[in-house]
């Protein structure tokens, strides 16, 4: 048995204590009609065989391409200190810190996580973690409904489509409504949320709006007029939810500064590997006014009975194990270890390092913009961005596929991310981070240039 210590002798002793003669007797109350007789699974592998099999599968993935893919998940350098901490059994094999006397390590790191994210977001109450950016966004929307007792949620169409889909899934059964705000079609604000449409939507007196959700940077990498949107939302009595990317908060105005009531977002960029989608880190932060609406765990600084500093899970009355059907959410297990990764990442980089990460990506992205434009792929939108943007490429999905053959992962065709949207169908969403090199950008430019110079690019092939 790979991980079980019981010897035949141990089993015999335990059975004898119970006055039984066979383990089958332990399962006798399973009615014969529903008693299963085994599992039809591949046979057990020794660790040596299994490791070889897993290596074989991992090797079937290709992660060696020159990549400009972002769209919600970002490649960043992860200092070795992060994994060193995460690999400690005392952290990763610990349970939820229900017993504070035995969990000060985990509890303090969560408190530190909350504190660090409070600094980044400018909001005081940070949940111990949610599943991912999309579910955190959905929970943020539900918070606005609970807090305002209103039933309409407005979400910008320039929020990541996966987030909007998740939001719909979460809101649909509650009977509340989700409406999408269009993006500006042309002009200097093209690609950002249409504020006029927002104002119009907010003006429907009969159906007051609970929350307005806008992403910063948005799906297209563009910077949104968050301060204006926040003001307009508040004027209508709605709450404002900023969907944020945490590394950008090293240099961009924090949600707290432009009056956001809630910030939600994906914490993956803070030291977490892409892993084909998870585990990641749902960031959820709110003003103190919304403290009791925040779903999931919160850790507070407290005292033990002898006056020593002690951390403890607190405000538990929001949680399912105490409140059951009246809980703020059903969340139980969260993404604590990912929050630890973010904590170690931020502690290792510090404010200057994090700024360098954000600014380094911005610098590379501008280099990329110039290179791609010179190769024949100009930007789709004119407005400012941080480190991600869309470029117009003839026959974009096909070009994307052909660049793959050159070993270049040219971001994501917006046509696959947002099928059925004509305005963006001819574009690739590309991003750069501090790990992008000048050489990689040059290779992308050269490959694109030669592709666009070839006849196939004119649409002959596809």
């Amino acid at each position: 048995m790979p991980y079980q210590p019981h010897t035949p002798d141990d089993r015999a002793r335990m059975l004898a204590t119970l006055g039984l003669t066979s383990v089958d007797e332990l399962f006798e109350e399973i009615p014969p009609a529903v008693r299963a007789r085994g599992l039809d699974l591949p046979s057990a592998l020794s660790e040596a065989e299994l490791s070889r099999e897993l290596e074989r599968l991992a090797a079937r993935n290709r992660t060696d391409l020159v990549s400009f893919l972002g769209a919600g998940v970002y490649r960043h350098f992860i200092p070795a200190a992060v994994d060193e901490v995460l690999r400690r059994g005392e952290f990763y094999t610990a349970y939820t810190p229900y017993q504070p006397e035995l969990s000060q390590g985990t509890l303090q790191t969560i408190y530190e996580y909350q504190s660090l994210l409070a600094e980044l977001t400018g909001l005081d109450v940070v949940s111990a973690s949610h599943y991912d950016g999309a579910t955190a966004t959905a929970e943020a929307a539900l918070m606005t409904v609970r807090a305002t007792r209103r039933g309409r949620i407005l979400v910008s169409r320039a929020v990541h489509p996966h987030y909007r889909e998740t939001l719909r899934t979460y809101v649909h059964p509650t009977g509340f409504t989700v409406e999408e705000l269009p993006v500006v079609a042309t002009g200097p604000a093209a690609g950002t949320t249409d504020l006029a449409a927002l104002e119009a939507a907010l003006a429907v007196d009969a159906a007051p709006v609970a929350g307005v959700l806008i992403a910063q940077p948005n799906l297209y990498g563009l910077l949104e007029p968050m301060a204006d949107a926040s003001r307009v939302a508040h004027a209508a009595g709605a709450l404002f939810v900023a969907v944020v990317e945490p590394v950008s908060l090293a240099v961009l105005a924090p949600p707290g500064a432009y009056g956001a009531d809630v910030a939600a977002g994906e914490g993956q960029p803070l030291g977490i590997a892409p892993q084909y989608g998870g585990p990641y880190l749902g960031i959820l932060a709110a003003t103190e006014a919304l403290m009791r609406q925040v779903p999931g765990r919160l850790v507070g600084l407290a005292r033990d009975l002898e006056g020593r500093r002690a951390y403890v899970m607190t405000l538990r009355a929001r949680e399912q194990d105490i409140r059951r059907e009246r809980a703020a959410s059903n969340i139980c297990t969260n993404q604590a270890l990912c929050a630890l990764a973010a904590t170690v990442y931020l502690a290792t980089l510090g404010p200057h390092g994090l700024r360098d990460v954000a600014a380094g990506g911005a610098a590379r992205a501008r280099e990329l913009e110039v290179t791609l434009a010179a190769a024949g792929a100009p930007r789709l939108h004119p407005g400012p961005y941080l480190n991600e943007f869309a470029v117009r490429v003839p026959d974009a999905p096909d070009a994307h596929a052909r660049l793959l053959e050159d070993g270049i992962l040219a971001g994501v065709p917006l046509a696959t991310l947002e099928p059925g949207r004509a305005d963006v169908a001819g574009a690739l969403l590309v991003c750069a981070t501090e790990v992008t090199t000048g050489d990689e950008i040059a290779r992308f430019g050269a490959a694109l240039r030669s592709l666009l110079a070839s006849p196939a690019a004119a649409g002959v092939r596809s």
Binding site: P5, M14, V34, F91, P100, G300, R316, Q320, T333, L354
Partner: protein, 499 residues
């Protein structure tokens, strides 16, 4: 201290000094942010702490020494299945091929992970006796939500809008009723009978045209297999409702009971319980959901498909129109699922059956060993866990379950789950799992017996426990009344931040 005896540790903020750190990433050019308009920028850098790598490591290593963990000790936490976490699985999840793969990478680049996910769905389907499985849900509770949303979608699809209720037993885990609420249902609790099973008559009475689903945990959170499971399932289906199985306790019945085959319509798996992915201090886990034929069309998307040529791909948008849609971004907690896959492949079918046998044997053994000193409200063969109670002990000595739990800390053990399930007074829910040696089980039982004995002799020592932990009992009331949820660098102290 410092590796000798754990001591409390200042916060990162208190360790910070301006000018420490650096050397991790290159410094970008000065004009790197020229493209970002001034009004969009942050006016002051975030007040993150500044530490050099040596201090960061020492901080977290010292904090780690303040934690209890499976790697260092036994966690008899009922309802949590705190089994050993295999080390190969940690290695596997970190293989660059798995870890560095972007979730939007074209399918041609992702064949290894797609194959693993596709195979894992099938492994879980066999284990659960289900037709199909989604791996997307990030945890058990999200699995529940996914499952109940599918039940809702099914009734909607049938045009049956009258089903506004979900039934749960009173012993159910808090996530069950909370899920029902999130899915827009009203929760109805049904009581247990004297043997700890769902009271069949009460259940029958509650069932009706307005019930969308019944959520059962089997074995229940009392550690008992529902003996009348066939009748219960029949009653549920007779009422036109769906049967949801909370599979968190599957560790008890692997290969002995397949919920789908038995008649459940939908279930979730807790891979961070049954399939041994580590709990990480509270997460991440994963909560795959299995469904029978009825609910398959409603599964969240995109699913992983195998094409005729053996390559794997994701469902295209709109390919399955009845899907409830996404329950999260991308494809699930894949890194966790890699571990679960490795765990199942390491065991094979007979191996997984042996897991359950040993888990059940261990639970019954500990039950037998502590019987007498503690009440055993349902003293019959249990499955992977059992409920004990300090009710009589308390009546005799004043020592409560909480005190017993805290005193166990002094004996070197993590306390069991306490005061849950809610239906048992002074409950101790004990789940030893299959990965603890008989010596450990004995030492734990001995500790419980010793505490019961001490409660008679010297109750004060028990009620004031723990004495050996780095901190004593916490003043949780004050913590909740005056919440301090973040360090305030501006205040430079542990006072809450000024508004």
């Amino acid at each position: 201290m410092n590796g000798v005896r754990p001591v409390l540790e200042p916060t990162l903020f208190e360790r910070s000094r301006p000018g420490r750190g650096d050397g991790k990433v290159p410094h970008p050019p000065r004009d790197a942010l020229a493209g970002v308009p001034a009004e969009q920028r942050r006016t002051a850098p975030p007040a993150l702490p500044e530490l050099s790598e040596p201090e960061v490591i020492r901080h977290f290593v010292r904090l780690s020494h303040l934690n209890y963990s499976v790697d260092a000790g036994f966690y008899p936490l009922g309802s949590c299945t705190m089994k050993y976490n295999p080390k190969l699985n940690e290695w596997a999840a970190r293989l660059p091929g798995f870890a560095a793969l972007h979730p939007l990478a074209p399918e041609a680049l992702a064949q290894g992970t797609l194959q693993l996910l596709w195979e894992l769905e099938r492994l879980l389907a066999e284990i659960g006796g289900m037709k199909a499985v989604t791996l997307q849900p990030a945890a058990g509770a999200q699995g529940e939500l996914t499952g109940i949303l599918m039940a809702r979608a099914y009734h909607e699809w049938r045009g049956d809008d009258a089903r506004r209720k979900v039934i749960v037993p009173d012993s159910s885990h808090g996530t069950n009723p909370a899920t029902a609420s999130m899915a827009g249902f009203e929760t109805v609790h049904v009581a247990s009978d004297g043997r700890g099973d769902v009271d069949l008559e009460t259940l029958r009475g509650a069932l009706g045209q307005d019930v969308a689903a019944v959520m059962l945990t089997n074995p229940s959170t009392l550690g008992l297999f529902e003996e009348k499971i066939c009748d219960i399932l029949e009653a549920i289906h007779a009422a036109g409702a769906l049967a949801y199985m909370d599979g968190a306790n599957l560790n008890a019945v692997l290969g002995r009971f397949k919920p789908g085959t038995a008649g459940f319509d939908v279930m979730h798996f807790n891979v961070h319980k049954t399939f041994s992915t580590p709990h990480g201090g509270g997460g991440p886990g994963a909560g795959p959901v299995g469904v029978g034929e009825t609910l398959e069309p409603f599964l969240p998307g995109p699913r992983v498909l195998r094409d005729g040529d053996g390559t794997f791909r994701l469902e295209r948008p709109g390919e399955r129109p009845d899907s409830i849609g996404r329950v999260r971004a991308f494809h699930g907690n894949v890194g966790v699922l890699v571990r679960a896959y490795a765990y199942i492949r390491a065991h094979g079918g007979p191996g997984l059956m042996r897991v359950s046998e040993d888990a059940v044997l261990a639970a019954n053994y500990v039950r037998a060993r502590i019987r007498g000193a503690y009440d055993i409200p349902f003293d019959r063969i249990c499955k992977h866990e059992f409920v004990a109670s300090a009710k009589s002990l308390k009546a005799r000595t004043g020592v409560r379950t909480l005190d017993v739990a805290k005193r166990l800390i002094d004996h070197g053990f993590h306390p069991p789950t306490i005061y849950f399930p809610l239906v048992v007074e002074e409950a101790l829910l004990i789940e030893p799992t299959e990965t603890e040696t008989l010596e450990t089980l004995d030492a734990f039982a001995d500790a419980l017996l010793a505490i019961a004995e001490e409660a008679e002799r010297d109750p004060g020592t028990v009620t004031s426990a723990p004495h050996e932990a780095p901190i004593g009992r916490v003043d949780e009331a004050t913590a909740a009344r005056q919440p301090n949820l973040r360090w305030c660098p501006a205040a430079g102290a542990e006072t809450p931040c000024p508004d």
